[in-house]
Amino acid sequence: MEKIIEVQHLSKSFGENEVLKDINFSVHKGEVVCIIGSSGSGKSTLLRCINLLEKPSGGQIIYKGENILDDKHDVYKYRQKLGMVFQQFNLFNNHNVLSNCMVGQIKLLKRSKAEAEKVAMKYLKVVGMEQYINAKPKQLSGGQKQRVAIARALAMDPDVILFDEPTSALDPEMVGEVLKVMKELAESGLTMLVVTHEMGFAREVADRVVFMDKGVIAEEGTPEEIFTNPKQERTREFLKRTLAPQTSSQVSF
């Protein structure tokens, strides 16, 4: 399987605070990798370093064979190949739903308005929001906004989509509708890197689960390995704490 992204010896500090220490891992084409861990373990920072929203302090990020931390590398072209879905949705407030999905295509991928609209409608149908094309973000619910955010990322035809706790800001009822869309995307072969607290989703959909703790990857493996047979003590501790009160992980889809 082709390696899309490889992270080598990545480190990131905010001033004195060392948030990421020597991270090494890779994402292959078509894989769904879920990153789990407690707050402060560095999961979101890792994701944000990968698409350079944060500047790493050290290490390399290899994208299709090239080190993107090189000075000469075009950051903007790189980011266009990586989609991101945020915890707070971050839809463009001055654009309606359809325009949100079109603006990136027109301005960055230089597609024609007609082509951009076709692609946008295609993905809005995939997430089930095609009836809301004229709605403004402030008129939508959280679950609807997140689905549009997913369509917006898909419309750029990226190689990978990064999901930063996509359901953490949603009501339990809306979590289900977003996870359903993500599951369908995973099944269609999309390469996904998901930071999440939804253990049920990780268990059912992930090809690989990465458990992070205090800035390092404590354990990595298939969902079966991590959830039923964790090797590390701290993995066991974490799973005990998070899986004990069964809440949204009970959502079956």
Binding site: N51, L53, Y76, K77, Y78, R79, Q80, L82, G83, M84, F86, Q88, F89, N90, L91, F92, N93, N94, H95, V103, G104, K107, L108, Q131, Y132, N134, A135, K136, Q139, L140, A149, R152, A153, M156
Partner: protein, 252 residues
């Protein structure tokens, strides 16, 4: 001092009052527009992310310092003094005898620009960081982020403050009378000078100023509401899909 004089001055000199008001509005509208554009450009420049090192950083720092001085100076000195310095300075130092209307617009624009730059900067800072992050994550550079996502929202947010600047300009153009621009104050001075009925003449001018500022305020409020659009999105406004429609859709 009587009602009779009010009426007499109003009926006899209304063309002059009107011309003065026209000039006041012309100078205020154009200057507020130009000042806003200046403010937007400066706002964009001052929020460019500072490069870590290199000659680009030096240039940006220098530009930042120059713009900072411009803002501080034109906010820190009275516009009436700026008017004298610019108009007579241009004549004395450079031998340029400015066309009065051009001078008026130039002076008020430069002054407004300094205030608008700070208003825009405040507007940009108040935009949720997530908007920037989403634009960057999709691959936009600073300029694209500004023009496609941030500035449209900033413009909407600063409309109240911009409207405020407009109203202030309508009033402050009065100071241009010192360089003989024939706006409302200047006209009123002439009228009052003819009759020595200062109170009546300037009271009428006062009313005219108030009519202008109040009308402008109401119009701006209307535009703000229009820009915001409806609060909720009802599907019924657009396509109404009954279950039968949906079935037909999927069967096609």
């Amino acid at each position: 001092m009587s009602l009779e004089w009010f009426i007499r001055i109003a009926t006899e000199y209304w063309p002059m009052f009107l011309r003065g008001a026209g000039m006041t509005l012309l100078v205020s509208i154009i200057s507020t527009l130009i000042g806003s554009i200046i403010g937007l450009i400066i706002g964009v420049i001052r929020t460019i992310p500072m490069p870590e090192r290199g000659w680009k950083r030096l240039i940006l720092k220098a530009l930042d310092a120059v713009l900072g001085f411009y803002i501080a100076f034109f906010r820190g000195t009275p516009m009436i003094v700026q008017a004298m310095v610019i108009y007579y300075g241009a004549a004395m130092a450079f031998g340029i005898y400015m066309n009065l209307i051009f001078a008026a617009i130039f002076i008020v624009s430069i002054n407004t620009g300094a205030y608008m730059a700070e208003i825009v900067r405040g507007g940009i800072i108040s935009i949720d960081k997530g908007q920037f992050e989403a634009a960057h994550a999709i691959g936009m550079n600073h300029f694209q982020t500004m023009t496609n996502v941030v500035l449209p929202q900033v413009i909407r947010n600063i409309l109240p403050a911009t409207g405020n600047e407009f109203v202030i300009n309508i009033k402050d153009t009065a100071v241009l009378n010192v360089i003989s621009v024939s706006e409302l104050f200047f006209q009123t001075k002439s009228i009052a000078g003819n009759n020595f009925r200062y109170f009546e003449a300037f009271s009428i001018a006062c009313i005219v100023y108030f009519i202008m500022t109040y009308t402008v305020t109401r119009i701006l409020r209307y535009f703000e509401k229009k820009l915001d659009g409806p609060e909720t999105y009802t599907l019924n406004q657009m396509q109404v899909m009954t279950p039968e429609d949906m079935l037909r859709h999927t069967q096609n």
